[in-house]
């Protein structure tokens, strides 16, 4: 589970720190910094997971505009059972060349160092604490990204393998097509690879069965998914719906023919079921951390709360963690029956401040009404 994040000198996030619980709701005006937190998580994930150059991900203009500091600092703490990893990254920008390098990159497991990368030198530590011989490394890249799994670095490997389970998404149904060139293990940031992701997930028959059952309940007429061949490796995802008059006969549609709302519902329930599936989580070795930006977009009003209730249950049982950005009263009013809300705002367009939302006695006005009036925090 994501325990803590610290961000300094990234856009409007200056000396920004946030601790997380099983469910976290980010609220506040537009431009308040909520999406910037998600962006940061995504960049860190790409940096460590996809061997990307630091300057490509953390550009010079990403620094906080009203500060002159050339150093950006990030810290990420991820829990594993009762213990925690701490990842630290400092990036140094060069004003003249507009390039960036890693000032330091460190990974800790509790107080035990696993990796230290500073001044172009990498010091690795085995699981038993023994240090390996240091070596030189290119400071435009993540040293952690290039460590291959071995029997003596399982702790470090677990951290690297956990990062892709951070699903940072703003689902855009119009981008969700039905074509798949290959299986993909994780959904993309816009969920435009849904067909490929489902192609991977459907290998788990149990999950496929459960998803079908769930969608039959929440999507009127939904019957089943089916992949048709469209070339050697290409597949097309089709969705079959029953008709009222002919319950035994289903009509097939290309996935892309479904409405935005239908595709959104499918995406959201797939996320919930994947988060619980044995295969998808490697038998619970890793947990999904869902960072969803406005998940209730495109949904009809009665569709929102049932999904929120399912998500809340999964989170409170510890099966998944959720960080949600929302502006929707239905989500806000339901979720804020628990003290899980964070209000993001920027005074005078400067650094983001975060406050935990505590709904005071306002005579019975809903939290969403207080927010709509601008009375929650002003």
């Amino acid at each position: 589970m994501l325990k803590r994040i610290y961000i300094d000198n990234y856009k409007c996030l200056v000396n920004f720190e946030l601790n997380f619980g099983p469910v976290n709701l980010f609220l506040g005006p537009n431009g308040g910094g909520k999406t910037s937190v998600f962006e940061t998580l995504q960049k860190l994930q790409l940096f460590v997971g996809q061997n990307r150059k630091v300057a490509d991900l953390f550009t010079f203009s990403d620094r906080t505009r009203w500060q002159s500091s050339l150093i950006q600092t990030f810290e990420l703490e991820i829990e594993r059972g009762k213990k925690a990893y701490k990842y630290e990254l400092a990036i140094e920008h060069d004003e003249k060349s507009r390039t960036a390098r890693v000032k330091y990159e460190r990974l800790w497991y509790e107080r035990q160092p696993l990796l230290k990368f500073e001044s172009d030198e990498v010091q690795l530590y085995q699981d038993n604490g023994t240090s390996a011989s240091p070596y030189t490394f290119d400071s435009s890249l993540s040293a952690l990204a290039f460590i291959t799994p071995r029997s003596d670095n399982q702790l470090l490997t677990w951290f690297k393998e956990q990062l892709p389970y951070l699903i940072i998404a703003q689902i855009i149904p119009p981008l969700m097509g039905g074509e798949s060139a290959q299986e993909e293990k994780f959904p993309s940031a816009r969920m435009d690879n849904y067909a490929s992701w489902y192609r991977h997930l459907s290998q788990d028959q149990g999950l496929a069965f459960q998803l079908t059952a769930a969608l039959r309940k929440c999507l009127p007429g939904f019957d089943y998914f089916k992949f048709t061949e469209a070339g050697e490796r290409h597949r097309t995802l089709k969705v079959f719906f029953t008709s009222l008059g002919q319950p035994s006969a289903s009509t097939g549609y290309d996935f892309s023919e479904l409405s935005d709302g239908q595709r959104m519902l499918i995406a959201l329930y797939t996320l919930l079921l994947a988060a619980q599936a044995k295969d998808a989580t490697q038998s619970g070795k890793h947990k999904f951390i869902l960072c969803l930006d406005e998940p209730e977009n495109y949904l009809a009003l009665p569709e929102i709360r049932p999904w929120m209730v399912d998500l809340y249950d999964l989170c409170s049982e510890g099966q998944v963690q959720a960080l949600l950005i929302s502006h929707h009263p239905e989500s806000i009013d339901y979720l804020l029956a628990s003290p899980i809300g964070y209000w993001f705002e920027r005074q005078n367009n400067l650094a983001t401040r975060v406050k935990q939302i505590r709904a005071e006695d306002d005579g019975g006005l809903s939290v969403s009404e207080l927010i709509a009036r601008g009375w929650l925090h002003d």
């Binding site: 049932p306 209730v309 249950d313 409170s316 049982e317 009013d333 029956a337 005071e360």
Partner: protein
């Protein structure tokens, strides 16, 4: 078993909500047909929220049940009051709002744990409880799940003698929601 189209759970807090939802689901109610109406955190006493919302929910229930198979489950802690007092308060709330009393055939169940829902949960977990002490909140609301599921599975059997009296009283409300259990 009634196939509910919609069943509203009106309650004071998240723990009560989780308890009620788990119970209903274990009794066969489709979880997506359960609509929680929970007092927002930090607001006035959850009890006041339930009392204020109760007449509105009863009116809503009566309207909707003409067209759909609806139900209303109400949970509110007795705290230091008697269960009967709390019930009377709810009935008064109806009267003050010009809403007629709850009728026997209506699928409206009122469940009043004493001293609070944690009393029932700790009892179900096998602990010795009384109806005066305040028991601590669970670390996670969902920690009650398996115990509530067991209660739901065995709901047709009489409770043990040592069960909290408020829980025994609550069981008498069950036929309002599940008439087939009567």
């Amino acid at each position: 078993m009634i196939d509910y189209t919609t069943i509203v759970v009106l309650c004071e807090d998240r723990q009560q909500e989780v308890f009620a939802r788990q119970f209903l689901e274990s009794c066969g109610v489709d979880r997506h047909r359960i609509y929680p109406d929970v007092c927002p955190k930090g607001k006035r006493a959850g009890e006041q929220f339930v009392r204020t919302q109760y007449p509105k929910q009863v009116v809503s229930y009566r309207k909707i049940s003409r067209r759909l198979t609806a139900g209303l489950v109400v949970l509110t802690d007795a705290d230091v009051k008697e269960v009967s007092d709390r019930l009377r308060q709810l009935e008064s709330a109806l009267e003050q709002n010009g809403v007629s009393k709850r009728r026997l055939e209506e699928r409206i169940g009122v469940f009043i744990p004493k001293r609070n829902i944690e009393t029932w949960i700790y009892y179900l977990m096998g602990r010795a409880v009384n109806e005066e002490d305040v028991y601590p909140y669970l670390k996670q609301e969902s920690d009650c799940k398996s115990y509530v599921q067991a209660l739901a599975r065995n709901r047709r059997e009489p409770l043990l003698e040592i069960a909290p009296p408020s829980l025994k009283t609550a069981c008498q409300e069950l036929p309002h929601i599940f008439p087939e259990d009567a």
